[in-house]
């Protein structure tokens, strides 16, 4: 493990302090900073300049696949593979196929949503160490990476403290 500084993290007890710090960090054009919070905070994504998630597109595509797959299976089995007359209904009883077609849409769409979320977040992830155990409790953290162009150790530390950080720590 080298002792190269990877970044600086500031811990806050108040979401408003975190938001202030995040705004300051954005004002300095920091691109790689990320926050850690016990619960989602509205507006933080835009402050940090994060793009809207693409999860919906995965859902849409897989949902449509489920829809076509479901109807395809029904029509194939009932009208092509072995057509059987049941109760005088047509072989391709489309109205009767809607419920299962719908369920397949939801099933595939829903499972794909979870899969996409885990993929985009690279979870499960048991390797990276936890910054602070109280982040999942009541602590808010802002991480500024040393990769930033205008990164200056004392400046970032100053920023954190000015915004009300209770502690700053070097990560390295």
């Amino acid at each position: 493990m080298s002792n190269k500084l990877l970044g600086i993290v500031g811990f806050f007890k108040d979401p408003y302090h975190l938001l202030r710090a995040a705004k300051e960090a954005r004002a300095r054009q920091f691109k790689f900073c990320d926050a850690y919070t016990p619960f989602p905070i509205h507006g933080l994504d835009t402050i940090l300049g994060q793009k809207r998630s693409v999860v919906p597109w995965v859902t849409l595509v897989m949902g449509l696949a489920g829809c076509f797959g479901g109807f395809g299976l029904e029509i194939f089995t009932s009208a092509i593979s072995w057509p059987i007359n049941v109760g005088g209904k047509p072989f391709n009883s489309f109205p009767a196929f809607v419920p299962i077609g719908f369920e397949c849409t939801i099933l595939l769409g829903g499972l794909a949503t979870l899969a996409a979320l885990l993929m985009f977040c690279r979870l499960p992830n048991f390797k990276s160490s936890i910054l602070n155990e109280s982040i999942t409790d009541n602590t808010f953290a802002l991480y500024v990476s040393a990769k930033e162009e205008s990164f200056r150790e004392d400046d970032v530390k100053n920023l954190m403290e000015k915004c009300g950080a209770i502690e700053t720590r070097m990560v390295g």
Binding site: D45, V55, W82, L117, C121, P124, I130
Partner: protein
């Protein structure tokens, strides 16, 4: 009433973020109380009793049920519809109220979703128990086989059920688990014991609360809510199709889908109220599951009860309006025939009793709501019983009329279903956080003052 317009705080305003973790995790960190063990023992023995019944049924045959021609569906399907319906409130709270930005849902969604999952599990057993050759249940799935391939009949609403119920179970589980991830992480970080840390750590998947993760997480949560909403409507609609696609008077009517959905939500909310009144007391969560939550749920019970009443009226009116003598007879037979006691139990419990919730005093009284919620549960059970049995026992041909008298096996399975459900629910209360901690934290500011100097953010 006071003429004030301050939003009533959802939680006890003195609670801080840390308190949420401490209070919610408390029941999981100490040994269960004696009463928990007593309840669990009762529930588990009922489950074992059910297994014995099933063995008895396998050895003897379906004749152990009180079912016979013309009533081939009785308490088995009543229980199936009843438990599926119970599940619907959980999805309504977790998905529909989420889409409608009802912040009060955060204190109750976790336990309601748990209830959904266990109720669907319970319900799913009944069609399988009810099969003639239970061991061939997998014939319900479309897989290539050596019989042709002989496929399943996709035109049958019973098959739609298979897909609907299994999709509902899967998606509810995914949704529930998604909500649990940040909370598992909280427990992991709070845990002192190694095994505990490991187990919850694995369940949390390494969640760290990163903003870039929350970003995806929130969207995924929103989408699953968006998918669950039509899903929940479809599930009970499909259950209603089991009846409505037939040509039997009293079953074949177009309002069945929305009517069943409203009834499901109605009974489900009654069950949530029953459970939460107990849970908040036993686990000392009165500061989190407050009067605001209970009152709102009672309002929903009133609203859905009215919808159910509307459907009863619409059916009765149309039976007359249609000029169909069989249809009219079925409804007369329901109200005045040999099962009139079940019908009037249903009307009293579902339409008349919930009207008490028009009064704020009753909506906010724990004993009143507890009793009403029990009555509604009973009423909704009888609604399914009435629909199923009265339509079957007297149809077009008077020569084939007969009565259905449930046997001890029928009732035994009903008891078992409660035991099975509560076994899981009690385990859930012990090992899982009964309140969605991270979601509660995100709504704690409701009804509290924003610091003067800060910009409005949430």
């Amino acid at each position: 009433m006071e003429a004030t317009f301050e939003q009533e705080p959802l939680l006890n305003p003195k609670k801080t973020l840390t308190d949420v973790n401490i209070d919610v995790c408390k029941p999981m960190e100490r040994l269960p109380s004696r009463s928990w063990f007593v309840c669990f023992a009762i529930a588990a023995s009922l489950t074992v009793f059910g297994l014995c019944l099933f063995v008895h049924q396998l050895r003897t045959g379906m004749g152990v049920w009180g079912l016979n021609n013309p009533v081939g569906w009785g308490i088995d399907i009543t229980n199936f519809v009843f438990w599926i319906g119970i599940g619907h409130a959980g999805t309504l709270i977790s998905a529909i109220l989420f889409l409608f930005r009802q912040k009060w849902r955060t204190s109750i969604n976790r336990s309601a979703e748990a209830m959904t999952i266990f109720a669907v599990m319970t319900a799913g057993l009944f069609p399988i128990i009810h099969l003639g050759r239970n061991w061939l249940f997998f014939w319900l799935l479309p897989f290539p086989n050596t019989r042709g391939s002989l496929w399943v009949n996709f035109r049958s609403p019973l098959l739609w059920d298979v897909f609907a119920v299994s999709t509902y179970f899967t998606i509810s589980l995914v949704f529930w688990y998604l909500g649990l991830i940040p909370d598992f992480a909280s427990i992991r970080d709070k845990a002192k014991h190694k095994v505990r840390k490991l187990v919850y750590g694995v369940l949390a998947l390494g969640w760290q609360g990163k903003q870039s993760h929350w970003n995806h997480y929130e969207i995924a949560y929103l989408i699953l809510a968006g998918l669950s909403t039509p899903l929940v409507l479809s599930v009970h609609s499909i259950v209603s199709f089991d009846f409505a696609t037939s040509v039997l008077p009293g079953w074949h009517t177009t309002i069945f889908p929305p009517y069943f959905v409203a009834g499901a939500i109605f009974s489900g909310f009654a069950m949530v109220v029953t459970l939460l009144v107990i849970v908040r007391k036993v686990f000392q969560l009165e500061d989190y599951i407050t009067m605001v939550h209970l009152e709102n749920m009672n309002k929903i019970i009133l609203a859905t009860g009215l919808m159910v009443g509307y459907a009863y009226g619409s059916e009765f009116f149309t039976a007359w309006y249609s000029g169909n003598i069989y249809e009219m007879f079925t409804f007369k037979n329901r109200a005045l025939g040999p099962y009139a006691w079940a019908y009037w139990t249903m009307i009293t419990s579902n339409v008349i009793v919930p009207q008490l919730f028009w009064f704020r005093r009753f909506r906010r009284s724990i004993p009143v709501m507890f009793v009403i919620s029990l009555i509604v549960n009973i009423g909704m059970w009888f609604e399914r019983f009435t629909i199923i049995v009265t339509s079957l026992h007297r149809d077009f041909l008077p020569s084939s009329w007969d009565m259905y008298i449930p046997r001890w096996v029928d009732w035994g399975y009903t008891l078992f279903s409660f035991g099975f459900f509560f076994t899981f629910f009690l385990l859930f209360c012990r090992f899982f956080p009964t309140i969605a901690m991270s979601e509660v934290k995100s709504t704690m500011h409701v009804g509290r003052k924003t610091p003067e100097t800060e910009e409005f953010v949430f």
